[in-house]
Amino acid sequence: MPNKLDDQFVAVFLEEASDVLADWERHCLAIQKEVSSQSLDALFRSAHNLKGSARSVGLDGYAKFIHLAEDMINLMRDRHELANAEGISILLGAQNILLQWRQILLGNLGAPEPEFVDKYKQILTELKDRSTGAARVEQAFGVFDDNQTSLEVKATPAKAEKAKVPSQSQESIRVPAQKIDVLMQIIGELSTQQATINHCLKTNRMSERICTNAIQFATKLTRELQLQTMALRLVDLSRLFQRLERVAYDVAQEQGKNITIIVQGAEVEMDKSVIDRMTDPLVHMVRNAVDHGIEPKGSRPSQKPAGATITLTASKSASGVQIELADDGRGINPEKVIKKAVSLGLAKEGEQIPLKKIYEFLFAPGFSTAEKLTDISGRGVGLDVVRRMVDELEGTLEIQSELGHGTKFTIVLPTNVSIIDSLVVLASGQHYVVPIQEVAEVIDLRSYSIESQTQRGKTIALREKAVTICPLQAFIPDTKPHTSLQTKSHHKEAQQTVPSPAMIIDISGEKVGFEFEQVVGQQPILIRKLAGYIAGIPGFSGSTILATGEPAVILSPKVFARQYLSDKEVH
């Protein structure tokens, strides 16, 4: 038995363990839906492999714990009736402990939390109870002798095996080797073209055809390189969906609700950073759906099927990836929402509010219509967090709901976030960048007649609908006089000959326009975060470097539009 743990091997094992444990979870969820020898065998293989690897790097306690679970799976393989809801929840519990244990081994959590050790003991007892329940089979296998179990309880994992593995806080992505081969090939071609260009430069033949061809090729290859590199960040949604399924399952278990979870489109790919950032908001939404959406045990109307359904669907849409979360629960009661909105001062008593607006209230900070906060989704994080994250990612979020029939959330997220198509505009004498996704259209105000003019802006008729146009400048106030130290972008010259552009922003059907000085161009940009000291100004979502080398701020007109619309109510 190796006493000295080789940190490096342990690190590799722990990395691998997270994958295997995810498989473990997936198999459990599959068995929970339908018991089959196939999935039980797969689960057994996962456990068995993990045990083997744990042993090989010297994590004997870890291996022994898996061994217990493995025995239980073995019992289930012989007697499928043991793989009932209770049995699965024990196996999922074991998986949870192994995950936490892994976390401790990674050195991220430090000392074991009492809760963890207690749970650990509890699961072992449960496993043991289960085995005595199946006494006959147990004897045949000769597992679960008292010695082993008590020994296991004593060995508090973290003390016994806390390996000094460097903490793995760095994000990592698994990439198919073939994707890297493609990159290598492109880079090879690119360097050939570059050599040609260099040669032409040295021999003063820059304007000759051979050189211009090479430059064209290089440009094409660079674009290709950009696309392929971005593809490296794309990961399918299976992990995320599995996690959400697990959350739904756990909450349903806790509350004794009978829920079927249907998952579709897990193969759709998205940028890993988008997935990572959306995980917590989506977990919250799924919790919400099970906790508040689905009727409590016993109060589900009899005309509905007894088992509730939650559907999680991902699909590719024109503007990115669309994720739908639908439940067939009680739906959103608009009256309750209005009552709460009035009590929070967001709406006036007796005011006529369109349904879309009513749902929008749900995203206000501190808004919760649940009369009593439950342990599950009443933790003070509300849908406002979801809204903020979706905004940050330049996505959209919509609610459809029918009282008594259920609720559907639709989120559309861009496939990748690091490079976006943008509109470069001139406003307040400076170049600003606007993500094209946020702009519904750009119009030339000269071809519209102004219907009315107020202090806040002018109203035009856009396809027979009144749209208010306000100056973009109002949202990017120049707080200080220009100094000669600062750049100044060119102003337009004659008033009449140049168009007078405005961008139209669509906020769930309501349109607002922002007038600016000039459209400078359209270009793909690489988003960079604003430095900490200037980050967090609403509507200023990032920065980038323009083709001219000049830095520019990325504006989020949707934030301005929402600001404008909410201000309008107050005035």
């Binding site: 400076q430 949202f475 960079r528 000291y533």
Partner: protein, 169 residues
Amino acid sequence: MNATHTNYQPTQEDQDQDQNKYLLFRLGGELYGTPLMAVREVCEFQKVKPIPQTVNSFLGVINIRGEIVGVIDLRVRLGYSQTESKTLAMMVFGTEEGALGAVADSLEGVAKINHQEIDTKPRIESRIPIKYILGVGKFRDHLVTLIDLKEVLEKEEVTNIRNVTKKAA
């Protein structure tokens, strides 16, 4: 200051030498110095892209080799006039919230000033909290006010750049 990534191992003496080095710069007519080792880099002045809703002394951002770096005008911050000059220069410091540049009228160079020659309890009037003033030293018969610019930027500036009082629209 640990150069473990190179083969060069600085001796204690070297480190002491570095400790004594100050980057000298001019604001108005006055000479200032800041510990050299805290300065990430020095660069020529380039035109700054203004950022709305920030304080007056924050000029905006510049592009340093693809990195977007904020710039503070030390002259505005410390109450000197913003005169045009061909010698304007920027000192870039790494702060916890990202790199930050500081504009001075001119850079004078690097000077070694021994600890013994620094008056650590000077009585001077300054807009900088006294705790960031390391002392007053002498360089070629001129007095140099030594300030810990990095600390000033990190502790005082970084949190105050956003102009919260002015609300958009």
